[in-house]
């Protein structure tokens, strides 16, 4: 699909109408969904109405913003008033939110066309979108493989051109890891930059909403539209939002010396050799662009994973206590008292991974264990943050692979939760420290699967992160490679 700027140009020059663009997106969704299953709910009529409103504005000679008429996908853990929001869970299969999230309100105010709600691991818990209660999403590059997760539907939809850009949420890598596995740009902003009002809570000290896009500029435009203070989210930061787009330049030579640090610990065992080679080539490219490259050690980086899998399930066990079959959602029929109703409804409504994390979190927070687990993990967070702080005294940007491997086969890790957790090794420390980071495509492995590079900056340096990513992107042509979606099955592709 064309970029936001291309579509915007077509709209203002009246080469195409917003209704035509929306219709094209909806047709493509209809055609590809049987193969991909990126969406849980498509808002056909609503999208066309929104597009008609944009066309009316253009016809009336009114100015339109960059996002007006742009088809956007929304991860299905972000509430929209009157639109089913399931979080990929059976427990919310009949839930229709009575209120609108701040991010979707902002996008609609900007004239964006919200085409559908995208698939995810149930309550954003997972790294493959296989934990959805409504079936898995396929990776557009190889449908036998996973798109990553938890925002796998948003990543696959953008990669396949079902929408121009999409929103996801990132608690431990849920935007960056699927962006990497699907070959698109995905960004997790600084904790507090984007309002979470209307985002269904998973782990509140880590959750953040962010953009998926086919190119860096589109990600910058979408981020600019959703960022900013919101009185409805008490963790939201009161800061000025820069114009991220205007700051993008195809190189960083004229700037003062840009220092990039390669995180030593991420190039150890467990890293796929092709991923290592592609990321190293990309780092050389950054050097050619004028960056000074240093090797940086973050010795406590690897402790991020165990710390995260204590903190996130602990917070989840508290957040998910609200699914009690009283105010909304499904209720198990055959209960004979209140406690029994809770237990049976939750047994029926939650999938295995969600139950596993609720159990883990409940245990970690139970009497006598809080200090040993949750408090210990929060202290380890401080140590990881200190590692980043001292790294950022020496460099401006950190770089590492986004994911230790390219997209893995569906079913490969579903029986071994710990091996699934390990796919978030590179992304998790960033959430623990609350930093912004993005994943950008940096090549393909021998099987044609995308590889992603992760760039990390200090808090609130999204501008610099986007500038570096943009300069890299403009010096390569990875963004122009698209998955072949004309072939129905992999067998046919091979023969």
């Amino acid at each position: 699909m064309a970029s936001i700027r291309e579509l915007h140009k077509q709209l203002i020059q009246k080469e195409r109408s917003a209704v035509e663009i929306a219709t094209e997106a909806l047709d493509r969704i209809q055609k590809l969904e049987p193969q991909l299953h990126s969406f849980l709910h498509v808002m056909g009529d609503r999208a066309l109405e929104q597009a008609k409103a944009v066309d009316d504005k253009i016809a009336a000679g009114e100015a339109i913003g960059l996002l007006a008429g742009i088809p956007i996908g929304i991860k299905d853990n972000i509430c929209m008033r009157g639109v089913p929001t399931t979080c990929g869970s059976r427990i919310l299969e009949n839930f229709v939110p009575p209120y609108e999230s701040t991010v979707t309100q902002k996008l609609q105010d900007a004239g964006a066309i919200l085409v559908g709600k995208t698939n995810l691991d149930e309550f954003a818990m997972g790294s493959s979108t296989e934990n959805s209660g409504y079936g898995r999403t396929c990776n557009p590059w190889d449908r036998d493989r996973v798109p990553g997760g938890s925002s796998g539907g948003s990543a696959a939809a953008v990669a396949a051109g079902e929408c121009t850009v999409a929103l996801g949420s990132d608690t431990g890598g849920s935007i960056r890891q699927p962006a990497s596995l699907c070959g698109v740009v995905g960004m997790k902003p600084t904790y507090g930059l984007v309002s979470r009002f209307g985002l269904v809570a998973y782990a509140s000290s880590l959750d953040q909403i962010g953009p998926f896009a086919g190119c860096v500029e589109d990600a910058a435009i979408l981020l600019g539209a959703i960022a900013g203070h919101d009185a409805k989210d008490s963790t939201s930061l009161k800061i000025e939002i820069p114009n991220y787009c205007q700051l993008l330049r195809p190189n960083f030579r004229p700037r003062t010396r840009l220092r990039i640090g390669v995180i030593k610990e991420t190039f150890g065992s467990g890293l796929d050799s092709v991923v290592e080679s592609r990321v190293k080539t990309a780092i050389e490219q950054l050097q050619l662009l004028g960056a000074e490259i240093q090797v940086i050690s973050c010795p406590r980086f690897e402790y991020g994973l165990p710390a995260y899998y204590i903190i996130a399930p602990s917070e989840a066990s508290a957040n998910l206590a609200r699914y009690d079959a009283v105010k909304y959602g499904i209720r198990a029929e055959e209960a004979d008292n209140l406690i029994d109703m809770y237990k049976k409804t939750r047994a029926k409504g939650f999938g295995t991974e969600v139950k596993r994390r609720i159990m883990l979190g409940t245990y970690a927070l139970s009497a006598g264990y809080y200090d040993a687990y949750y408090l210990k993990a929060q202290k380890v967070r401080t140590l990881i943050k200190q590692d980043f702080d001292s790294a950022f005294e020496k460099v401006d940007i950190l770089v590492c692979p986004t994911s230790p491997t390219t997209a893995f086969k569906a079913g490969e890790k579903t029986d071994d939760p710990l091996s699934m957790y390990l796919s978030d090794l590179m992304t998790i420390p960033v959430n623990l420290a609350g930093l912004p980071a993005l994943s950008i495509p940096c090549g393909f492995d021998d099987q044609g699967l995308p590889v992603g590079m992760q760039l990390i900056s200090k808090v609130l340096r999204e501008d610099l992160l986007l500038q570096v990513a943009y300069a890299y992107e403009q010096s390569t042509d990875w963004q122009f490679y698209k998955p072949d979606l004309t072939v129905a099955t992999k067998q046919q592709k091979k023969s």
Binding site: P306, L360, Y363
Partner: protein, 95 residues
């Protein structure tokens, strides 16, 4: 390590009814995950303050101004069961 009895206790605290098979697999899987967490004890965290967020903020306040809240009828419509203006649930106390 976690035994089956502890798994049953935690499931009760979490208000989850587990099947026999789930009890068995969670006992095994949660034990191995807890073993994995043990590596955190390698780190000395004496005198280290816990972190909860990237940028500390505190005492977020706002003007105490009334805003319309969501419509009661709309809230009740979403409920699995209701009685007049109330959410309805199975019996809580015995007769």
């Amino acid at each position: 390590m976690l035994d089956r009895e502890q798994v049953q206790k935690v499931a009760h605290l979490a208000r989850l009814e587990l099947t026999e098979a789930e009890e068995e697999s969670f006992t095994r899987q949660l034990s191995s995950i807890l073993d994995y967490f043990e590596q955190l004890s390698e780190l000395d965290t004496t005198d280290i303050q816990p972190t909860t967020r990237a940028i500390e903020t505190s005492n977020v306040t706002r003007q105490d101004v009334l805003d319309p809240s969501l419509a009661q009828e709309e809230m009740l419509t979403a409920a699995p069961d209701r009685s007049d203006r109330f959410f309805q649930v199975p019996q809580i106390m015995s007769d």
